[in-house]
């Protein structure tokens, strides 16, 4: 048999003595059992046995049973009485008032009944205290409600009785008042203008003075308009209506939270010593909550159950799939399916099924632990939360989860599922020959990449090399140029800063695809730049067919594009550096170069570092410039095979593999490899960032 604690506790750890005398006796015996010597143990155990076998005849038990019987009777009679009481009420009361009346009546009856049982058990005491609270607070609310209703009726009646003549009179009065105010306003403005003309006040003071006068004018007009009986009454009606709908609700909520305060301080006693609802009801979330009498939670988890048994599990088993076979489809990949079945669809539906199942498992676990905790609390003496308390708890603590839910769903389906697909795809053999059906191939794709063999893998390392060179050189050049321009343009003596800043903004502001495409035109064999270069140097230079020149031009182009962004960032930081720093340096005799090296560069670098790092990752994946400029060309099949050109970056190579040549699985494998690299890069940067270290995330 289970062990009973001598005391009860509430959720902040206050200790209460038991009112259940039988349990108290039992608990005392059990606690002495621990301290007594072996010889006395027999005796104690014996007395425990006597006690437990005689539970039904224990005086407290008898008393409790009597109480329960009386309570049942009371409830029956209460209902009858309530009906009688309700019919005796004034029929003009509205629904809300009737509800209040019924609650008040019940509370009064309950106080009468439970008063004599408060010493017997905590449940009775709780009912008693609850009733007292209601008797104390509800009448006030009812009175307020009644008064408000009366006032509302009065106001409505008044509104109908308003003399239209009076309104007319007021209208003309208001008109006169308005004209008067307008005149005053004009006079005031004129006075200000005179003052300004005499140069007694500044332009800004004039402007502010005007605004002030205008506001005053408006306010006095609004004030005056409420002198109209009609307007004032309407306002009053709106006000009273608001009190009836929102104000009363708030008062009731205050009362409810007072009740829940009492509930929190009132323990409960049960015979149960071991939680068993939790594992018993684990397969059906919602049932355990129902047994714990937490109806609000029960409804929430029942929705979860519906999701699990209505959607997740059938889908995972293959029912309701578009084409696939749930999780099983992930293993077979449609290899024995019909001719139109596609492995990719099977794979994606399998992944979706896995996520649905993962959701289901999460619901199971949350439900299980929730029931378990509530049960353990009940055994300790803590009352489970009622409807009102659960609602407020969900409102306050569940809020972040609730509002993040759309983001979570979108992220899972738009980001996580596709990425998982890519990861899985990299272990399959999806290539031009196996488009609709493909098998699992293990690590083959990765081996191809690592050893640089096969049609697609053979150029991996040379492309990686160019990608790294490109990333480092193009980004560093852009940063260098942008930063230098920012410093030069920041010089006090330079005139026309606005012009330069606006011009330097352009490469960033014009959509990159437009400039890249236009440069691509200008660099084509008959394009403007090619013609000029050929005229000046008198050579037949064809940029787009020469790998080396193509690369150089691409780097210069990215410098042109990227420096604009760096320029803007650095200018922003430069403007924020306080001038005192430079003055202090000047006084100490620093040269311009020293000021630059010791003050400017460190500050700018420190402030923009995370964004500059972002520029490197951006360029690593800068697909558009490569693809739009020359589609990754010029092509050189002897060196780069048929799939890639000599300016292709990994990202555009992946694009060509997956989209143009249907080598999806090796493309996916390369994506995974570079993603891992970038993630590591980002992780290190992220870990070292200030926000993360200071736990301010």
């Amino acid at each position: 048999m289970g062990k009973y604690n001598e005391f009860l506790y509430d959720d902040i750890g206050n200790e209460y003595s038991r009112k259940h005398l039988y349990l108290q006796e039992l608990a005392r015996h059990q606690s002495t059992l621990k301290s007594v010597s072996a010889s006395d143990k027999e005796k104690v155990i014996k007395s425990i046995n006597v006690l437990t076998s005689n539970r039904k005849n224990h005086p407290y038990h008898v008393e409790l049973e009597a109480f329960k019987k009386a309570e049942r009777n009371f409830k029956v009679t209460l209902n009858a009485k309530l009906k009688l009481h309700m019919t005796s009420l004034d029929p003009s009361l509205d629904r809300k008032q009737r509800a209040f009346e019924s609650e008040l009546f019940k509370a009064k009856e309950k106080v009468n009944f439970y008063q004599s049982y408060t010493g017997l058990c905590y449940d009775a005491e709780l009912e008693y205290e609850k009733g007292r609270l209601i008797i104390e607070q509800l009448p006030e609310i009812m009175l307020k409600y009644k008064n408000t209703v009366d006032e509302l009726d009065q106001a409505k009646a008044h509104l109908e009785k308003i003399d239209p003549k009076k309104e007319e009179a007021f209208k003309s009065e208001y008109k006169a008042f308005k004209a008067d105010q307008q005149k005053r306003y004009r006079d005031g403005v004129q006075k200000l203008k005179d003052k300004r003309a005499a140069k007694n006040i500044s332009e800004k003071a004039l402007k502010n003075g005007k605004i002030e006068l205008k506001k005053k004018n408006k306010e006095s007009l609004t004030l005056k308009s409420y002198e109209s009986d009609k307007r004032a009454t309407k306002e009053l009606i709106g006000n009273k209506k608001y009190i009836l709908s929102k104000g009363i609700k708030r008062d009731v909520n205050v009362m409810k939270s007072n009740i829940s305060d009492v509930r929190r301080r009132m323990p409960m006693e049960v015979l149960k010593t071991k939680p068993f609802y939790a594992w018993l009801t684990a397969p059906l979330p919602g049932l355990g909550q129902l047994l714990n009498k937490q109806f609000f939670k029960a409804i929430l988890f029942a929705i979860g159950s519906l999701f699990i048994y209505g959607i997740a599990i059938p889908y995972a088993l293959g029912f309701g799939n578009y084409q696939g076979d749930g999780i099983a489809g992930l293993v077979t990949l449609a290899s024995e399916g019909k001719k139109i079945d596609k492995s990719l669809i099977f794979m994606i539906e399998g992944i979706v099924a896995i996520f649905l199942v993962a959701f289901s498992i999460a619901i199971y676990l949350i439900s299980y632990f929730d029931v378990l905790k509530v049960e353990k609390d009940i055994i300790k003496g803590i009352r489970p939360r009622n409807w009102f308390e659960s609602l407020t708890k969900v409102e306050s603590e569940g809020f972040p989860y609730l509002v993040s839910l759309p983001a979570l769903i979108v992220t899972i389906f738009i980001v996580i599922v596709p990425i998982t697909t890519a990861i899985m795809l990299s272990f399959t053999g999806m290539n031009p020959k196996n488009q609709s059906k493909f098998p699992w191939v293990g690590f083959d794709n990765y081996t191809l990449i690592a050893t640089g063999s096969g049609l697609a893998g053979s150029v991996f390392w040379s492309i990686l090399g160019w990608t790294l060179v490109w990333t480092l050189v193009a980004t560093s050049m852009a940063i260098l140029v942008g930063f230098m321009l920012a410093i030069i343009a920041h010089n006090d003596r330079i005139k026309g800063k606005t012009f330069f800043r606006t011009v330097f903004l352009l490469p960033w502001a014009v959509p990159a695809f437009i400039t890249i495409m236009f440069f691509s035109i200008m660099f084509s064999p008959n394009g403007a730049i090619t013609t000029i270069l050929n005229d000046i140097f008198n050579v037949q230079l064809t940029v787009k067919t020469d790998p080396f020149y193509s690369r150089v031009v691409l780097i210069l182009l990215q410098t042109w594009l990227g420096s604009s962004y760096v320029f803007l960032l650095s200018t922003g930081v430069l403007q924020a550096i306080p001038g005192d720093l430079y003055e202090a340096a000047q006084i100490d005799g620093a040269t311009e170069w020293q000021k630059l090296r010791k003050i400017t560069i460190p500050i700018v670098l420190f402030q923009t570092a995370p964004l500059l790092v972002g520029q490197y990752t951006f360029n690593f994946n800068n697909f558009s410039i490569i693809y739009l400029f020359n589609s990754g060309g010029p092509f050189n099949p002897s060196k780069y095979g048929n799939l890639a050109g000599s300016t292709d970056l990994l990202i555009s190579y992946i694009y060509k593999l997956t989209m143009e040549n249907q080598y999806q699985s090796i493309g996916a494998a390369i994506t995974i490899v570079i993603s891992l690299g970038l993630m590591l890069f980002a992780f290190i940067g992220f870990k070292n960032s200030k926000a993360f270290r200071e736990e301010r995330l």
Binding site: P418, I419, A528, G614
Partner: protein, 297 residues
């Protein structure tokens, strides 16, 4: 009179007198600045001139003479689906911006104001996942679209695109907005709560009005995104009727059937002008939006 003349000769500036070395440096600075301005303005002005040059034929040449004409615009408006592309792009951009705002305003608020389980881990996870290039999932997007559209027939490829833009922006924008909301004093929340505001009311009545500047920036960035992006529309959208501007204009220079480079210049010009105007007017806000996100990150 003599006194005044002397006053004019006095050196009254705060700055030190310019030495001869300084003078040279200043001249060099001007030369550099003007040279770079030229480097920026020349290609752009060339684009503008070409767009208006009636002598340009299918290919852009430099040696043709200039004669003002609107025939390339005429071609653009009548022979291509330019207006459809504009409409598509604006539709995608607006819906993306609205969707992003709704989702991100909630998550930014939740991540800034609540300490819930899994908060740090999930932030870390989304930051890392974000580094994976957008078209890692491109193979899946196709198939996912066909699955979804079989269930919901109205689900078009453009909607898929919107979802991808919005979903991809959640992580970064949440981070930026969270940083901004962090800087709003929590005493405001407390005061509102004491007055009886629920979480939703605190969000709606207190936080969102104050965070408006950052929300505007996020909306603006999400709006501009679809104008700038070329890759995803190119891959996902298959018919010219559903193209966005970037994908549509590219057909004017890479497809032999529709090749017309001056028309491309005209279209590019029309697309760039409003965006450039937007950037110039709002440059301060746009840059501050960028850097505030980074400092907190």
């Amino acid at each position: 009179m003599k006194l005044f003349k002397k006053k004019n000769e006095l050196y009254l500036s705060d700055k030190q007198p310019l030495s001869s070395v300084g003078m040279v440096m200043l001249i060099i600075s001007y030369v550099v600045l003007f040279a770079w301005s030229l480097a920026i303005l020349w290609p752009l002005s060339d684009m503008i001139i070409s767009a208006f040059n009636g002598r340009q034929e299918q290919y852009l040449m430099i040696n043709t003479n200039f004669s003002f004409s609107l025939k390339h615009f005429d071609y653009l408006f009548n022979e291509t689906l330019y207006f459809t592309w504009v409409k598509n792009t604006i539709f995608i951009a607006v819906v993306t911006a609205i969707l992003t705002l709704i989702i991100v305003s909630f998550t930014g608020f939740a991540y800034s104001r609540y300490r819930f389980k899994g908060r740090k881990a999930s932030l870390m996870a989304i930051m890392l996942i974000q580094t994976i290039p957008a078209f890692a999932g491109i193979t899946a997007y196709f198939t996912m679209h066909s699955i979804i559209s079989s269930i919901i027939p109205v689900f078009s490829r453009q909607m898929m695109l919107i979802l991808i833009y919005a979903g991809g922006g959640i992580a970064g924008n949440t981070f930026i907005l969270k940083g901004y909301i962090d800087s709003i004093s929590t005493e405001l929340d407390d005061a509102a709560r004491i007055d009886g505001c629920s979480s939703m009311q605190v969000y709606r009545l207190i936080i969102m009005p104050i965070a408006k500047p950052m929300l505007a920036i996020i909306a603006l960035w999400s709006f501009i995104g679809p104008f700038m992006d070329y890759l995803l529309p190119r891959v996902l959208l298959t018919s010219p009727e559903s193209y966005t501007l970037a994908a549509g204009l590219f057909t004017l220079i890479n497809d032999f059937r529709t090749l017309n480079q001056p028309a491309f210049a005209a279209g590019g010009l029309l697309t760039a002008v409003p965006i450039v105007a937007l950037f110039i007017i709002l440059q301060k806000q746009l840059v501050s939006g960028l850097s505030s996100g980074s400092v907190k990150g």
